[in-house]
Amino acid sequence: MRFAVVQFPGSNCDQDCVHALQILGQEARLVWHQETKINPEEAVILPGGFSYGDYLRCGAIARFSPIMAAVKVAAERGQVVVGICNGFQILCEAGLLPGALTRNEGLHFRCETAPIRVETPTTRFTSAYVTGQILQIPIAHGEGCYRASPDVLQELEARQRILFRYCNPEGEVVAEANPNGSSHAIAGICNARGNVLGMMPHPERCCEPEMGGVDGRGILLGAAGVGRSL
């Protein structure tokens, strides 16, 4: 699969995503935020970082970038769109995913490896895993507390659109293991159609043993369509 990794001013995980995709045998190109075209066969990654310095609100300015119109079109066409960390925030601001990401409950930026639990393997992004599987994936954010209206949360639960939840090393979803206070311990969700994924943890940071693990590979390979067949 060919990936388009979008570079906003202030993105800082763009090169990391390209590196991880290459390690996984995928093609990747960087797309500057002022460009206007996403090719019909491409999957899109909105990487982590501090687009536009996160001024006003995380992702609030990035969503007006010229490239975002093309990303919306791609999503509507059913192309894969993955937003990681700041990219998740941008997807919510752009209305491609519901809800919003607010300041961590503990008020601090947190960077650590956090266990997350796979809630459903029936999406392209999670097909490499089994239900309840625990992934060790780095998080690095100051505003990752997921909030949405009760209706939206109910809808996400009912439609199994919550793909990952923060959990303790034993796989239990408990308050102590929730690093940012997210509602329903949400670490990642997808849209109704299942082609747009937003997640706070960084799968690109765990695709090589030397970086501390390879648990993120399945997510990126799943985005590439190289997962277990559904």
């Binding site: 001013p9 800082n12 501090f50 536009y52 310095g53 601090h108 947190r110 960077c111």
Partner: protein, 747 residues
């Protein structure tokens, strides 16, 4: 006001003013005096310390850019790869405005590194504060300083996407009211990418790029060259305000610019002394002159005077000289990154920095006088009157008749001084960039760096300082620091390539303080020579004193090294058990002089550190690197503050609670507390497979280095024997205290 009086109000001395007038051949105007006041401040000119700094070894086969030549030193890491690195302090700004003070410290050192042509790939920080657990206003102020500084570093470092991968955090009464914030940055580049800060080629255009100039940070360099006082809060306008977003865009734009062949002539960041420093230094290095028009400088406020524009230390600005005719390429790149790029002047042949406003000359100074002719002082040095008294240590008056090692270790584990620093580094993105191989919390951090031809080089780095050791014995203390830094690298299998130093001291006009500085420099120089370690630059921060008195003499060293081929990196914590605990090096504890133990447990700072055996140290490091190439080494940790018992305890604090049962050698004339908590150099602890022991013993014997079997690992109880002492702790008991002490006092 007369010129001379004005000069005195800006901190220049009468003698310095006379020298300026003589060099200029006329009375300088206000703008010119302002320029001299910052360029001839200690911060920019090293006028009080230059003679001492000459004592450092600065050359070596690996040195590509020497100390003092450019913004940062550069060393060769092999295969065409070079490393640019430097440490810099932001102590005074952080004392009055912790968040912005620390943030702009990060931004400032970042610019020093990418100015050299390097891509910044890692930060480390060395931080010192008073005691956060202190009662009343002192503790409250300290806690807010700590939180402010850590958030400031986190804010800037995380946003620019450069990981902060280690450092140190020290609490000691001696830094109450005068915290130390030293920031280190490492960048990587190819040999042929090294950039110079020289203005060459008459007629070449001089560009100003980056953020607009404002009134912030006015004469910050001069502010940093004074004592901190009750009135220092009024100096808040001298603290700059950072914008990491612009910092990130600026370095990406600069790196893109450098990549264009034959475009850039010279680059200099605008840090301390801003536009003044960047113009006169580039002109001086290029043997040329520069003429600029202030009306062309992008400004974010109206009505700024020439004096303000010349002395502003607004952040995220660079001066770039390109070849004539290539202006459009520079403008195109900076426009794409959304940054200002203004052609503000040209390179001339006059050897002078000429500043105009609306076409009228407002300053005209020979570049060399401003940049290089600051006076060099030999300050008076005197052995501190109370030093000999302070170095005396009578343990009989301090230690209880019967050792209370169990309580002692619990107390140590409870103290914020020794507690886990996770609370700090969890707030720093230490993984961005996909290079961090060994994360914070160990002896040295390790990064992988891509070689120009593909493949990885592993680079290890560490920051070390110890004000207590240096207060009690400035010369041996700083030797011990260098030894410890190199030992930390050895624990990662790395050969040290170069050292950068941050000399944090009090007011140099105090002969006793100046003596400790000189001793510190000489001790460090001796150790560096012994380890074949060039000093490639750094920073001097003087006037670190508040009404409560001067800080401890605190040299901080940053050492960068290359992990040897074939080394297996191992953690600093015990694994699943069933291993053997070995001690490599000496069995001597070094005694309790200047130890953390005496300070934390008995509230006493007394005695001095044992002498460092540099030869034995070097042999130990070589052995350590060889041992790491063997199979079966599970964990490695060096013995430092808190002594061998604390080092062992730290090894049990991993995720899988590690138990161990060890016997620690106790000398016949020694108290067990000395054997357990003495901070003598030259010791490394290992956990290894039983099968690996013979091989390691063989290597140690060949190397002439001691290798002692202390015990075994396993279970979840930590049991020790030492002379008459036999104690045990539940592994979890200590570990919980260790992990909770800092959050408990700060949250």
């Amino acid at each position: 006001m007369k010129a001379k009086e004005f000069a005195l109000t800006l901190g220049l001395s009468a003698g310095e003013y006379d020298q300026i007038e003589k060099g200029m051949g006329r009375e300088p105007n206000e703008n010119e005096i302002g320029m001299f006041s910052v360029m001839w401040s200690e911060h920019c000119s090293y006028k009080n310390t230059r003679r001492e700094l000459r004592k450092f070894p600065t050359t070596g086969p690996a040195v590509l850019v020497k100390a003092g030549e450019e913004n940062a030193g550069v060393v060769d890491a092999g295969d065409g790869l070079a490393l640019a690195y430097k440490i810099e302090s932001h102590n005074h700004p952080s004392a009055v405005e912790p968040f912005q003070g620390a943030a702009t410290g990060v931004g400032g050192i970042l610019r020093d590194i990418f100015t050299m042509g390097a891509r910044p790939v890692a930060f480390m920080d060395s931080l010192r504060f008073g005691r956060p657990e202190a009662k009343g206003d002192d503790g409250k102020r300290t806690r807010s300083l700590i939180k402010g500084v850590v958030s400031g570093i986190s804010h800037y470092g995380n946003c620019v996407g450069v990981p902060t991968i280690g450092g140190e955090l020290v609490f000691d009464q001696a830094y109450d009211g005068n915290p130390l914030v030293n920031v280190f940055c490492l960048g990587t580049l190819r040999h042929d990418q090294i950039r110079r800060g020289a203005a060459k080629g008459v007629g070449n255009p001089v560009f100003y790029v980056g953020a607009k100039t404002g009134r912030d940070g006015l004469a910050g360099a001069a502010f940093a060259s004074r004592d901190l006082t009750e009135e220092s809060k009024a100096d808040r306008p001298a603290v700059q305000v950072g914008d990491p977003f612009v910092g990130k865009l600026l370095f990406e734009a600069c790196l893109e610019l450098y990549a264009r062949p034959d475009l850039v002539v010279g680059v200099q960041d605008m840090g301390a002394a801003g536009l003044t420093c960047s113009t006169c230094e580039t002109a001086s290095r290029g043997g040329s002159g520069i003429e600029i028009e202030l009306d062309l400088v992008p400004q974010r406020e109206t009505g700024m005077t020439p004096y303000e524009i010349l002395l502003s230390e607004s952040q995220e600005r660079m001066l770039i000289i390109v070849h004539k005719g290539r202006e459009a390429e520079l403008k195109e790149i900076f426009a794409r990154w959304g940054l200002d790029a203004a052609e503000i002047g040209t390179v001339t042949e006059t050897g002078r920095v000429v500043v105009k406003e609306g076409g009228k000359v407002v300053a005209d100074v020979p570049a060399r006088i401003l940049a290089d002719d600051a006076p060099v002082y030999e300050r008076e040095a005197k052995v501190p009157a109370k030093l000999a008294e302070r170095q005396k240590l009578d343990l009989r008056k301090i230690l209880p008749a019967k050792p209370k090692v169990r309580e002692d270790l619990l107390k140590l584990a409870t103290s914020p001084a020794t507690g886990s620093r996770r609370w700090v580094w969890n707030q720093y993105d230490h993984m961005v960039g996909l290079r961090t191989v060994v994360r914070p919390g160990g002896d040295a951090a390790v990064l992988r760096v891509e070689k120009p031809g593909g493949g990885w080089v592993h680079v290890a780095m560490t920051l070390d300082g110890n004000g207590r050791w240096c207060a009690q014995d400035p010369r041996e203390g700083s030797k011990a620091l260098v030894a410890e830094a190199c030992r930390n690298l050895a624990c990662a299998g790395a050969v040290p390539l170069g050292l950068t130093d941050n000399l944090n001291y009090g007011n140099p006009h105090d002969p006793e303080i100046f003596w400790t500085l000189r001793e510190g420099v000489e001790g460090m120089a001796e150790a560096c020579r012994f380890f074949d370690l060039p000093v490639t630059g750094g920073n001097v921060s003087l006037y670190n004193q508040s009404p409560a008195g001067p800080i401890h003499p605190t040299p901080v060293v940053g050492v960068v090294g290359k992990v040897e081929e074939g080394v297996r990196l191992v953690p600093g914590i015990l694994g699943k058990g069933g291993g053997v605990v070995l001690l490599l090096g000496t069995q001597e504890s070094g005694g309790l002089g200047a130890s953390l133990y005496l300070q934390e447990i008995h509230g006493v700072l007394a005695g001095k550190l044992g002498k460092v055996n540099l030869k034995a140290e070097k042999e130990l490091h070589q052995l350590m690197r060889s041992v790491l190439k063997l199979k079966g080494v599970r964990a490695v940790h060096d013995v430092g503050e808190g002594g061998i018992l604390w080092a062992l305890a730290e090894m049990t604090f991993g995720e899988e609670s590690g138990g161990a049962e060890v016997e620690i050698p106790c000398g016949s004339n020694e108290r067990p507390e000395e054997a357990l908590f003495g901070e003598g150099a030259g010791r490394i602890l290992l956990e290894v497979d039983e099968e690996a022991v013979t091989g390691i013993e063989g290597l140690a014997k060949e190397a002439g280095v001691g290798c002692y079997r202390l015990g075994k690992t396993g279970g979840d109880i930590f049991v020790i024997r030492c002379g008459v002492v036999k104690e045990k702790w539940a592994g979890k008991e200590l570990k919980d205290l260790f992990h909770n002490s800092l959050p408990k006092v700060l949250e």
